[in-house]
Symmetry: D2
Subunit: 339 residues, 4 copies
């Protein structure tokens, strides 16, 4: 941390700040510049809130230096982590690109089994589908619950696909973990720290979606919550952020892919369905995401999007998904990776 | 809902959309304009996802007409709701302006009791203080838990202040409700629908903070979740949103006050502490919020902000809080209300 | 500036960065922390782009310390600047609160003269009205041009109000300066540096609106452009920013008022008309802005908003403006200032 | 346009709105729904401001239906436009992908000629370089002016590359047009309507960068300004937007590529240098942009980024640019296009 003093800060103000920093267990190193004094605080106390020093007289601002996360960073582990998922142990983060696809919600057995076979044939390695749905609107369809999980498990048996589904509450973490291969933390729950811990404790791989206004550091701190519970199987997932743009439901910031690769060892997937909100944009954003270096995709596919109970506007038909997968495969190969 | 067809959309495309709308139980009313056809859908089916119609051939876009919430809106109740809180039954929404103040976290008995008396004397009617803290960083102080609640209850006995504290998880809702007068849903949990329902079911008044990237409609839909559980005691709270601005921790959009007053019957408070993140801005934003017509404030006050365990940078000292309350009182009176 | 090296950066990488910094004419001061080395660069070279150092091997990031503006900051001038405007020399920045009001565009002589008298009677000290209009849509009404300026000047003669109007292009700066008392730089032109200089060179007071995604530093740097041309009569104006919110046309971040007061000596006005985009919100945001400590307001008033050629949705009628001014006056007095 | 009336709006309020709409020359079509009345306004009056109707009693909101631009839309021209640029007439929009590269600023003859040859060899078809620089900071390097243009022209003679450079002010449009093949409107000037017209009138192809908080419609309306002056040679360019993200200088929203392709006939390029602000992200965003379907790229390349006078942090070295072009070429081919 660097504490920047105001121009003209008095010696006793500097001394007071030095004392506050030292009370935190950090060493201090004042530097007297041409226009102002700055005080460097040396030591690793990431878990202490240093912003109260802003209140000390004569302080202009606090500048953090260390990233607030550690286990999720390359400081701790320089080489990429690999997370094996599903019956076939697909190795996310290994260089192979894995695609998870399926409907937003499990609506009924017929729908899900049909989609599962379709996405498997197109080259997906995972099956998504919600059994417990977070709905902004309290009157909307909220999912089938455990029967939905059973259908997902049946689809896995038929296809070998890794089942990915969202955990909505602490109370359901164990239940979902019984059926699923990859437990999803949804964007709305990225800051739900109780849930992060409950899911971590199942010991299952976790797909952590970025909150739609989460900063980069907050995203990795959410991963840190899971890692700090002893569960190392974290896969990040970018799903778009809130901005002023209205031609999309969310703005998909693909530069997070190289940013994660530079600072963290964790794999990162991209969700172009939520990341745009419009089916017509999804194929181009699938191509872009893998070209950017994402470790995989998670894509909504529905046999009849016009009648989907949830997220119909952004679901691909199996046909369009199949074509998209062919394009994705060619791009993956063009950058020297495999699907 | 209005469905806007693309220019040159064919009759059979229009017919197909008409069919999709009618399947939803809505009546249709096509209008043939100079440049394109639009189809009005008549009826109230707020809980049906209509966006899948975007996928139908020839459709350009869907324009919703009805607000997605109903119980929270003036359609259902034209006059303002009043929510009585605490031992003295302070009536939020009645025209009186109520101020809740206290530390971010309950750190120890001495700290809390001292602050409680100080804010009481300055004119506050409620006491805030966190016993369970949501921390972005897994290594930070997470609150005292139940002993913190006991200290809050003791402070209430001594001062008569209404106790406000956050509920972090479904499992703690009943426990917190035993001690607190007003249960807070934090910004990070505004979309945590399980928690909204659990808190609603305690039957206690709820202070619902806006998520930091929540839209207006999403904010009122979160209130709708609570209202639809039969709990009518909902108080909204604006606490700032994420924007590109960096001289503040959050951008405080006070125009939400007249917007809520126009569309909803629910009271609305403002949190200038989280809404700015810097103590020096809090007094002016307290004044601005009540001038804008807010039904109250919730303000962080700490006896020693430089040493606060959480949110020290945005906490007022009791002295500054006292001065701010005098200014707030004069403004409240200038606009014909009472504190 | 502080250069933060990556963990494990090598000595020769540190040496290379030291060399790059010294080439800029700055002194260096390396600090060896527990986790990484940081290099403080000492000296005032605000005008040198230091970010290329990011490219040097082993560098994690660059942290600027000095604000990029100097003349606009309190470093140069600690007490508030006062800018005298119009025939009566109204002193913006002196503690008195000044209100400028009038239509978005000068539409015809009758409209403008009527509004001028109305706003004068309500207590305004300035008259606004556009003669050259920036229109996002090339097919819209673009203003009356010089005849519009003549009407404004006539209104000044009749009322004594200070005339405020926008300068759209370098070529019109001299012309507008002949007629107006306060030259407005619109939000869309805040980054139009040629225009900033041309307007500065007229020697007239300048009302500088914040660009709708400008950062705090960019806003003050735009002021710095004018100040660095030798024109010290700069009044800042907040008019709302682009965010994800859609119930407003712009989000009005009033915390910029205390932020400007802390870091700059320049006066700051608030424009609640553009700052919200909806007439029904304007009175409460007028109240809030003066309560926050703004030095004045600029408000759109039109005798017949339903038929206004521009910005009708956000214009007050003279009646509503008159009532708002009474409320504003009471708040101004409540905080110990005068209107 | 659709006017949505409040629930319970009275007949005379509906009649008043009908009258206001008919005064605009539009036909009206009221629809009486279950909860409220909406009034459809039929006819094409894109250039009339309809928002004043919001002020009429009983009106809840106005919903526009037609896009505000016409010449830039597919309504006017369904097939893609091709814009031929430079000595070789490279056809942007034809399906071939064109890359423009070069330094942010022309610093001296040696620097520019060296880069020109390097980017030519790597496969670029255009050369970028600023002679007039828009600088947020008034004390920064502002470019060489006309001598910079002469150096660009010399580089074109030696390499055959199309010269692209920014026009900063109306006064320089003709001068720049004498030397350059493609006139750039920078992001800060996207709303500078005088400049749009001046550049349009040169008759040269125009590269129009999106303003950093411009909406989709505002971006296409800026193009409309140029088209409505009779200049059909407009190429759009996405260069990133302002959001809450801080690990990038701008957030690059690649979904604008399919959005433009769906609604407009104009070609669109992507600028991954400004679109991220960090050189290490540029190669992956170049790959992503062409995978998304962009018609080309504009990339900053500098022989010695550590010493670049401007934008050094985001400039690629010629070596990295060369490697990136090989990856870009493979992706272009993978999606069935050519570089």
């Amino acid at each position: 941390m660097i504490v920047v003093m105001e121009p003209g800060a008095k010696d006793q103000q500097v001394d007071h700040v030095v004392k506050l920093i030292e009370e935190m267990g950090l060493q201090t190193h004042p530097i007297y510049g041409t226009d102002r004094t700055v005080i460097a605080a040396i030591g690793d106390k990431r878990n202490v809130d240093k912003y109260p020093i802003e209140q000390a007289p004569g302080v202009e601002k606090i500048v953090p230096i260390l990233s607030p996360y550690k286990r999720a960073s390359k400081e701790l582990r320089a080489e990429p982590s690999t997370v094996a998922v599903g019956p076939a142990g697909f190795p996310f983060g290994s260089g192979r690109v894995g695609v998870i696809a399926g409907p937003c919600s499990v609506e009924d057995r017929g729908q899900l089994i049909e989609v599962a076979h379709a996405v498997k044939e197109a080259g997906a390695i995972g099956l998504r589908g919600g059994a417990f749905k977070p709905r902004t609107d309290p009157y909307s369809f909220r999912g089938l619950g455990e029967p939905g999980l059973e259908i997902l498990a049946e689809a896995r048996e038929q296809t070998g696909l890794a089942v990915t589904t969202e955990v909505m509450g602490v109370a359901e973490a164990e239940l979902v973990a019984k059926y699923a291969d990859l437990l999803q933390i949804g964007a709305r729950n990225m800051h739900n720290f109780n849930l992060l811990m409950a899911v971590a404790q199942t010991g299952k791989p976790v797909l952590l979606k970025r909150g739609f206004s989460a900063s980069f550091d907050e995203f990795l701190l959410a991963a840190e919550y899971i890692l700090s519970e002893g569960n190392q199987q974290v896969i990040l997932c970018e799903r778009g952020i809130r901005t002023h743009e209205t031609y999309v439901r969310n703005t998909l910031p693909l530069a997070i892919v190289p940013a994660v690769k530079r600072r963290s060892h964790l794999p990162i997937l991209v969700d172009p369905s939520h990341g745009t909100g419009h089916a017509y944009m999804v194929p181009s954003m699938c191509r872009a995401a893998v070209a950017a270096g994402a470790d995989g995709l998670i894509v909504e596919v529905h046999p009849d999007p016009e009648h989907a109970l949830t997220d119909g506007a952004q679901s691909l038909t199996p046909e369009v998904f199949g074509e998209t997968m062919q394009e994705v495969r060619r791009i993956v190969e063009a950058i020297g990776r495999t699907l």
